[in-house]
C-alpha cells in the first residue's frame, strides 16, 4: 500500500498502532510535494523542518498517548488566512508580507494537539476574496485535474493540495462558498460547518458574520474525523457555541436508509451548465435508488442571495480590513504625513479585488445608504433563513449543485468581477443562513470534477455527513491525479 493512497483515518490508525511512523508518512508526502508543488503551486509557505520536528515528537511520544491522537501523524495544510506562530501568515496579501503572528489560531492548536503534522500554508485569493485563487498577491494555483484551469477559491490552495495528494486534510475558510466551490472544482470533500460550530479565533476576518473554518479532505470520513477535532466551544470566540460535539466518524458508520432530500428547482434552473446539472441529477437519481426520497421544495428568495451577500460581506470586510493601516504591523509605505501614510499603504498593500470590496462596503455603510443597502440585505438574510426553515420541516437535507459550472480556464474571468461573483450563487445561501453545507464529488465532465452540495439544519453535521457518504457511495469511482497512469490504483 502506498502511503499517499491512504486517507487521513487510515494514516492516523497506522501511526497510532505503530504500523507507520509519522516520520515515514511525512517523508513520503515531502517527496511527493517536491515533485508536484512546482506545477500546482498550492502553497505560499512550506516548512519541512518544523514538520519533521513535529513528526519526530509524535514518534517519540509514549504509545499510550499516541493511540489517543485522532490525527496522529496526519499531514495537514492550513489556509494562509489562519494565523500560525512560527510561520508567516499573509492572507494572500502584500500588506501582510513578512508578518509573523505572535499567536496561533485555535483550529491549528487543536489539529496539533490531535497529532496532526502541519506542512505549511496554502494559497488563497487575497483576504479570501475571490473564487479562483487568481487574486492571490503572490501567484496563482492550478487545478490538479487540469493545469490550465483554476482550482476555485478562495481556499484554492487547500483544495488543490488535497486533490494533488500533497496533504491528507487541509483547512479552508468559507464566507460565501470558499471551501465548497474549490472542493467541487478539485474533486474533494469540503465542509462548511454551522456558524459557531468551529472557533474563528485566529482566522483573519473577511466577513465576520459569515466566515467559518472547515476541513477539506479526500473523503467524507476524513472530513468527519477532522471536524471532530476542530469543532467545539472556544472561550476566545464569543460566537462559538457550546453545542456538544458528537463522534462524527461513528455517526457516519451507517448509511442513511430513508433520507428525504429536498431539491429546490431554483438551483437547477437558468445559468447552470447542463452537463453539471446532469451529473448532479444523475447522482440524486442513484441516491433515490438507494432509498432516498427526492422532494421538490421552493426556495423563493434564492434569487436575492447574491445581492444580499455582496452587500453584507463587503460591508463587514471594509470594517475588518481597517486595521491594515501601516501603523503597527505589516507593510507600511513611506509618506510625509499620517493621511498619506494611510492612503499609500493601503493603495499599494491591497490588490484590486480587495479595494473593490472595501469601496463597496464603505459605501454600503455610509450615512444615508445604510438602511437601503445593509438593513435591506439583512432582511433578505432573514427571508433566506425562512426558506430553509420551511424546507427542513419536510426534508432532512437540501441538495444542489455546488457550482453552476465547471472549473474555468485561468485568466478567463479575472477581468469580469460580476461573472466571478455569480459562481457563488449556490453556496452563499448557507452562509447567509448560518447552516452547515458540504460539497461532495458527484462525477466528472470531460475529466473535470463536479460537486454536489448538501445543506442541513443548524448543527446537523452528523446527519449531513451521513448523507454525504451516500453521495460518495453512488458517485463513479475515480483515480486521483497522482494515481493517473498507475495500474490498479484507485482512490476508493
Amino acid at each position: 500500500m502506498e502511503i499517499l493512497d491512504l486517507g487521513a483515518r487510515a494514516l492516523a490508525e497506522a501511526v497510532q498502532s505503530g504500523a507507520l511512523s509519522a516520520t515515514a508518512v511525512l517523508e513520503a508526502y515531502w517527496a511527493h510535494i517536491q515533485a508536484t508543488e512546482p506545477q500546482v503551486r498550492a502553497f505560499l509557505h512550506l516548512d519541512v523542518e518544523r514538520a519533521r520536528a513535529r513528526a519526530l515528537a509524535i514518534d517519540q511520544a509514549p504509545s499510550h498517548l499516541r493511540r489517543t491522537w485522532p490525527l496522529a501523524g496526519v499531514p495537514v495544510a492550513v489556509k494562509d488566512n489562519i494565523v500560525t506562530e512560527g510561520m508567516p501568515t499573509t492572507a494572500g496579501s502584500r500588506i501582510l508580507e513578512g508578518w509573523r503572528s505572535p499567536y496561533t489560531a485555535t483550529v491549528v492548536a487543536r489539529l496539533e494537539a490531535a497529532g496532526a503534522v502541519v506542512l505549511g500554508k496554502t494559497n488563497l485569493d487575497e483576504f479570501a476574496m475571490g473564487s479562483s485563487t487568481e487574486y492571490s498577491a503572490y501567484h496563482p494555483t492550478v487545478n490538479p485535474w487540469d493545469p490550465k484551469r483554476v482550482p476555485g477559491g478562495s481556499s484554492g490552495g487547500s483544495a488543490a493540495a488535497v486533490a494533488a495528494g500533497m496533504a491528507a486534510v487541509a483547512l479552508g475558510s468559507d464566507t460565501g462558498g470558499s471551501i465548497r466551490q474549490p472542493a467541487a472544482y478539485c474533486g474533494v470533500v469540503g465542509l462548511k460547518p454551522t456558524y459557531g460550530r468551529v472557533s474563528r479565533y485566529g482566522l483573519i476576518a473577511f466577513a465576520s458574520s459569515l466566515d467559518q473554518i472547515g476541513p477539506i479532505a479526500r473523503s467524507v470520513e476524513d472530513a468527519a474525523l477532522a471536524l471532530g477535532v476542530l469543532a467545539g466551544l472556544d472561550p476566545k470566540d464569543a460566537t462559538s457555541v457550546p453545542e456538544p460535539v458528537p463522534d462524527y466518524v461513528a455517526a457516519i458508520d451507517e448509511l442513511p436508509s430513508a433520507v428525504r432530500i429536498g431539491v429546490p428547482e431554483e438551483y437547477f434552473g437558468e445559468g447552470i451548465d447542463p452537463a453539471v446539472r446532469e451529473v448532479v441529477s444523475a447522482a440524486l437519481r442513484r441516491m433515490e435508488a438507494q432509498g432516498a426520497t427526492l422532494v421538490p421544495i421552493p426556495m423563493p428568495h434564492t434569487a436575492y442571495a447574491i445581492a444580499a451577500y455582496y452587500l453584507i460581506a463587503p460591508a463587514e470586510a471594509s470594517s475588518n480590513l481597517a486595521r491594515y493601516d501601516g501603523i503597527r504591523f505589516g507593510f507600511r509605505a513611506g509618506a510625509p504625513d499620517l493621511v498619506r501614510l494611510y492612503e499609500e499603504t493601503r493603495a499599494r498593500g491591497f490588490g484590486v479585488e480587495v479595494k473593490r470590496r472595501i469601496l463597496l462596503g464603505t459605501h454600503v455603510l455610509s450615512a444615508g445608504y445604510y438602511d437601503a443597502y445593509y438593513l435591506q440585505a439583512q432582511r433578505v438574510r432573514t427571508l433566506i433563513r425562512g426558506d430553509f426553515e420551511r424546507a427542513f420541516q419536510v426534508v432532512d437535507v437540501v441538495a444542489t449543485p455546488t457550482t453552476p459550472d465547471l472549473p474555468f480556464p485561468l485568466g478567463s474571468r479575472s477581468e469580469d468581477p460580476l461573472r466571478m461573483y455569480l459562481s457563488d450563487v449556490f453556496t452563499v445561501t448557507a452562509n447567509l443562513a448560518g447552516l452547515p453545507a458540504v460539497s461532495v464529488p458527484a462525477g466528472f465532465v470531460d475529466g473535470l470534477p463536479v460537486g454536489l452540495q448538501l445543506i442541513g439544519p443548524a448543527f446537523s453535521e452528523a446527519e449531513l455527513l451521513r448523507t454525504a457518504r451516500l453521495v460518495e457511495r453512488v458517485a463513479p469511482r475515480m483515480r486521483w491525479p497522482w494515481q493517473q497512469g498507475r495500474e490498479g490504483a484507485e482512490a476508493r
Partner: protein, 494 residues
C-alpha cells in the same frame, strides 16, 4: 449688548468614565494606569489579524449598576456596534461601542448647589459601554512641530461608560453641579478612579444658544461641541467662554457654525478643531463578533437591590444628624468621608463636631499629604478619642490641632501623640494645688492687691501658675483653684 439676554443657554454633557475592572473590556489584559508603554497589551487589544473580542462581565455589571444608581432603565437586550474611523491610537480602525441599543437609558440626576440647596433635576439620555483608545505621545514641543508620534496601547480596550445628559443644563455653574453630583454617585459605587487629570473621567460639552423666539427642535440648533475638558473647573470656564463667544456672534448678526472645538487652559478660550463639513461618518453597524448582550430581569433586580446608599439619601441622613448644609455638601461628595464621619460620630456621639474637625483640620492634612479618607492614617476611633480629650479639658482646641498633626504624620494614637508632644493640659487638682499655693505664698503683694479689690491681679497669679507648668495647666481650673485657696486663707476652716 442690549438689556437682558435674548437667548437661552442650552448645554448637554457627555461624560466618559473609565471603569476600574480588573481586566480590559474585551481581553484579559490588566486594566491599570501608569505602566511602561505597551506592556499591558495582547493580540486582542493590539487589534492583530484574526483576534476576536470577548466581553468582560465585570464591566457590564459596573455599567449597569452605574445606570441603576443614576435612575436609568437597564435594557435586557442591548448590542455592541462598531464606530469606524482611522487614527493611530485606534488599533482596529473601529471602536467597539453601543449605538442604538445602549445598555442604560432614561435616568436622572438631582443637582444641589454649594449651600446644599436643591436646584434642579437633569435627565440622563443614555449610558453605554465602550472601549477606550490608546494614547499618542508626540515627540517635540507641540503637535504642530512634532517630529513623530509614539503609540501607547496600554489604555486601548479599557472599559468606558459614556453618560449622555439631555440638554437640560443652562450655565457653567449648573454643569459643575451636575459633574459633582455625577462624580459623587459613581464614587459611592466604587466603579472608577474618577480622576479627570489622569483621564479616567473626561467631559465633552455641547453648547448652543436658543434665541427666545426660536420654537423649533433643539436638535436643529447649531451646536458647538467642546472636547476633552480635563477638570470640572475647565468645563465651567469653557462653557462660560463659549456662551460669551456665541452671544457676541449673534449680537453681530453672525450665525453659529456647527463645529467641534478644543479648550486652551492657559488662555481660557475655545478654538475651532473641526467644522461640520469635516465631520466623520462613523459608519456604525452591529458588531458581528459579539452576540447581543442579554441580561435577565433577575440579574438586573439583583444589581438594583445591592446598590449602596447613594448621595441623595446620605445627604438627608447627614442633615438630620444636625450637620450644617454647607458641610454636608462637602462631605457627601466623598463616600469614604461619609463612612469616616459615621464611624467617628458613632464612637464620639456628636456628628457635627466630627464633621467640623474633618472639614477644617483633617481635610487640610489629607490634602497636604495627598491622602484620602480611604487611607487616612488617623482612624475614626482616634479622632473620637482626640475630641474626648478636648471635652475632658486635657487638651485645648489649639493643642488638639498640634496633636492631630502628630497623629496623622506618625500614625500614632491620640494619647501617644499627647505624650510625645508633652502638651497634656494639667487638669489634675492634686497636681496643681501645691503650685497654686506656692505662687500665693511667693506673691503676698499681689494677693493683697486682689484682696483690696483689684480683680485684675488674679490674672497675674494665673500667669505665674501657667509659667511654672510650662503652659500645660488648664487656665480655667487654675483660676478656680486660686480663688478657692485664697478664700480658704481668708476664712480658715475651724
Amino acid at each position: 449688548m442690549t438689556a437682558g439676554p435674548r437667548y437661552e443657554v442650552i448645554i448637554g454633557l457627555e461624560v466618559h468614565v473609565e471603569l476600574k475592572t480588573r481586566t480590559k473590556l474585551f481581553c484579559g489584559c490588566e486594566n491599570r494606569f501608569g505602566a511602561p508603554p505597551n506592556t499591558l497589551t495582547c493580540p486582542v487589544c493590539l487589534g492583530l489579524p484574526g483576534v476576536l473580542p470577548v466581553l468582560n462581565r465585570e464591566a457590564v455589571a459596573m455599567a449597569a449598576r452605574a445606570g441603576l444608581a443614576l435612575g436609568c432603565t437597564v435594557r435586557e437586550h442591548s448590542r455592541f456596534d462598531r464606530k469606524q474611523y482611522f487614527y493611530p491610537d485606534l488599533p482596529k480602525g473601529y471602536q467597539i461601542s453601543q449605538y442604538d441599543h445602549p445598555l442604560c437609558e432614561h435616568g436622572q440626576l438631582r443637582l444641589y448647589d454649594g449651600q446644599g440647596q436643591y436646584r434642579k433635576t437633569v435627565r440622563i439620555r443614555r449610558i453605554h459601554l465602550e472601549e477606550d483608545a490608546g494614547k499618542l505621545n508626540h515627540l517635540g514641543e507641540r503637535l504642530s512641530d512634532a517630529t513623530g508620534s509614539l503609540v501607547d496601547l496600554n489604555r486601548a480596550g479599557v472599559p468606558l461608560i459614556e453618560i449622555v445628559s439631555e440638554p437640560d443644563l443652562r450655565s457653567g455653574e449648573e454643569a459643575r453641579w451636575y459633574l459633582n453630583a455625577l462624580r459623587a454617585t459613581l464614587a459611592y459605587l466604587d466603579v472608577s478612579d474618577l480622576r479627570m487629570e489622569e483621564g479616567s473621567m473626561r467631559c465633552d460639552a455641547n453648547i448652543s444658544l436658543r434665541p427666545l423666539d426660536f420654537t423649533g427642535s433643539l436638535a436643529d440648533l447649531p451646536r458647538v461641541e467642546v472636547k476633552n475638558l480635563n477638570s470640572v473647573r475647565n468645563v465651567e470656564r469653557a462653557i462660560e467662554y463659549e456662551v460669551r463667544r456665541q452671544a457676541a456672534q449673534l449680537s453681530q448678526g453672525l450665525g453659529i457654525e456647527r463645529e467641534t472645538r478644543g479648550f486652551d487652559d492657559a488662555s481660557g478660550r475655545t478654538y475651532s478643531q473641526r467644522s461640520k463639513e469635516e465631520a466623520h461618518d462613523y459608519r456604525y453597524f452591529p458588531e458581528p463578533d459579539l452576540p447581543p448582550l442579554v441580561l435577565t430581569t433577575e440579574q438586573i433586580t439583583a444589581w438594583r437591590d445591592s446598590l449602596p446608599s447613594l448621595p441623595d439619601a446620605v445627604r438627608e441622613d447627614l442633615t438630620a444628624a444636625g450637620i450644617d448644609p454647607r458641610t454636608v455638601e462637602v462631605v457627601v461628595q466623598d463616600p469614604a468621608a461619609v463612612a469616616y464621619l459615621w464611624a467617628a460620630a458613632q464612637d464620639y456621639g456628636r456628628a457635627e463636631a466630627v464633621a467640623n474637625w474633618m472639614l477644617a483640620d483633617l481635610a487640610r492634612l489629607l490634602n497636604a499629604h495627598r491622602r484620602s479618607y480611604r487611607d487616612c492614617p488617623v482612624p475614626p476611633a482616634e479622632l473620637a478619642n482626640l475630641l474626648r480629650l478636648i471635652d475632658r479639658g486635657t487638651l485645648s482646641g489649639r493643642m488638639a490641632k498640634e496633636v492631630l498633626e502628630v497623629m496623622f504624620v506618625k500614625g500614632v494614637t491620640a494619647e501617644a501623640a499627647v505624650a510625645q508632644l508633652g502638651v497634656s493640659q494639667i487638669s489634675d487638682v492634686d497636681h496643681l494645688r501645691p503650685v497654686v499655693e506656692a505662687v500665693i505664698a511667693e506673691q503676698p503683694k499681689v494677693v493683697a492687691d486682689w484682696r483690696a479689690g483689684k480683680e485684675k491681679a488674679i490674672g497675674f497669679l494665673v500667669g505665674q501658675v501657667m509659667k511654672r507648668t510650662a503652659g500645660q495647666a488648664n487656665p480655667e481650673l487654675v483660676n478656680r483653684l486660686l480663688r478657692e485657696v485664697l478664700a480658704r486663707q481668708a476664712h480658715p476652716l475651724p
